[in-house]
């Protein structure tokens, strides 16, 4: 290497006020970083492949004379639109929270461990902007996983069994376009508890500074709540457990639509999400960045 060449324009600038970047800019770059990492596609791949495996398995299976657990399972071969509903039912308890936790638990801790947190915190963005951008990115990823899974399940289901009318939980038959709308709405409603899981993941990621501990901690916390919900004698707390909110979308698939579970889940989830986000923000604001 020869000596560095200095460009003519290098030198101290005037002490003019710097126009600082917006949180949206930080968010866009968080998304680009996310898109550049292999780990990102592991979670999305899981979200996409499971519906395909499910449809393949159901296509090969003889459904005659089978006693199905619920109405969508009973109508699985009559409409492709039953598939995304069943997939949401299966994946909502463990798989989708796990996928969301993979990124949420890693998003601050990984940067801390790699030392890149100090790199971005010595630029012109405030800590509040950085944590906001990271939380938004983790939420975007969680939402993307949910809708990717739903989209793949819908396409695979429709490809296997057609775009036909579907029967809801209350036995009402709805047209295929209306059924598709309900699938979208159900997944959107499920985002309420899922994004709450993301908030808890971001908090653990910020507080523990350890990716593995944050991911495991987030999933472990949801499993703990799930177990608490099964313990006899604790029925009273059950409506307030985060894991109970995973089924908030069931009301949308009844006639008439039952909005109460969604309203209930909104405020219960807020009780988890708001303190978690606030704590993550405060911890991030005041923490020492000495990693890397």
């Amino acid at each position: 290497m020869s000596t560095f060449e200095a460009s003519a324009s290098l030198g101290p600038p005037a002490a003019a006020r710097v126009r600082r970047p917006s949180t949206l800019t930080a968010y866009r770059w968080e998304l680009r970083k996310l898109a550049s990492q292999k780990r990102t596609y592991l979670g999305l791949g899981l979200a996409a492949i499971l519906p395909i495996i499910f449809v393949l398995a159901q296509s090969l299976r003889d459904h005659r004379g089978q006693n199905q657990g619920n109405i969508f399972a009973a109508h699985i071969t009559q409409s492709g639109l039953a598939t995304p509903v069943l997939m949401l039912l299966f994946l909502s308890v463990f798989m989708l929270p796990l996928i969301a936790a993979l990124v949420a638990g890693d998003i601050v801790a990984a940067e801390d461990g790699n030392g890149t947190l100090k790199t971005i915190l010595t630029r012109s963005v405030d800590r509040g902007q950085v944590i906001a951008a990271k939380a938004l990115t983790a939420m975007t990823y969680g939402a993307l996983a949910v809708f990717l899974s739903a989209a793949v399940a819908t396409m695979a289901g429709v490809a296997a069994w057609g775009f036909n009318h579907v029967v809801t939980f209350s036995g009402t038959v709805v047209s295929a376009p209306e059924g598709l709308l309900l699938v979208v709405a159900a997944n959107a409603a499920y985002l309420i508890p899922l994004l709450t899981v993301v908030c808890i993941g971001v908090l653990l990621s910020t507080a523990t500074r350890n990716s593995a501990a944050s991911v495991v901690g987030t999933v472990g916390f949801t499993i703990l709540l799930f177990i608490v919900g099964q313990i006899p004698g604790l029925e009273g707390v059950k409506p307030y457990l985060l894991t109970e909110q995973y089924e908030n979308w069931h009301g949308l698939l009844r006639t008439p639509t039952d909005w109460a579970p969604i309203g209930h889940s909104a405020w219960v989830c807020a009780l988890y999400a708001v303190p978690a986000l606030l704590a993550a923000y405060l911890v991030f604001l005041r923490r020492d960045v000495a990693g890397g």
Binding site: S7, P13, A15, T119, S124, R286
Partner: protein, 326 residues
Amino acid sequence: MSDAPPVRARGLVKRYKEVLAVDHIDLNVHAGDVYGFLGPNGAGKTTTLRMALGLIMPTEGKVELFGRDPIREGARALEGVAGFVEAPRFYPYLTARKNLQLLAALDGDGARTRIDEVLETVELAPRAEHRVGGYSHGMRQRLGIAAALLRAPRLLILDEPATGLDPAGMRDMRLLIRRLADSGITVLLSSHQLPEVQELCDRVAIVDTGRVVYEGALADLRRQGGAGYRLRTTDDVNALAVLRAQPGVEQAHAGEHGLSFQAQESDVGPLSIALGAAGVGIFALTPELATLEDLFFRLTEGNGAVAGATAGATTAGNGQLTEAAA
């Protein structure tokens, strides 16, 4: 804001439970300084720089960059400031250009337009499209400088920028820092490479076990270290007696290669006359200024005195060594 010094730290303390990493450090970096921040490993240099950049909270005291407190004012206090602490870190899965684009986006203010320029400056343009994960240590150091220059800084804070570089890389890094300093950028350079500091810096702070033991002009430090002289004569025994009797001459002693002593230049003229009068012929009388290395070890290892100050001396903030408070 424009009149405020680039760095001003007062009573900076950082305590990690029982460990006192930084112990009431005062720093004064003036505009245009190439300021060396010296100390052995674990002396508290990096911790101090982290506090200066707002990465960690001081336990006590405050630091201001151009009059702004990075802890209270956040990113606003870093306007016109750039640099890195410890090794510069980047996203290994992104190319150098993408890393710089990301950082430029977080800098705003036209930093994006300087990407090609800074890549050329550190000679990484041909490797700009390669992922940083495949970069050597030296290339990452250079990319760190490039990332700092994106901000068109008035103050550049560099923590051991030449660490891990090969001799050619170290030389190039020094040249680059010199050139940046010549262009008017104030440089705060943390280092334990004494030749680097001696070559580049005009003012220094020396820290040891979390405390500043000297702060001021490098030239003053060397002057306070005492002007040493080496003397070779026709009669060293007689000459030593003359030296010991001569006013203004101190620490005279005989060594393997002749005599050595300390004295001010004004006292050396009368000494040569006294030697002649005593019948001692002079083969050679050569001045030997204390090197930075000598002074550094005297200050940080407590094995000697600088200008009469005891080991463990602390600074009065004006380049003068004073008795330690503790």
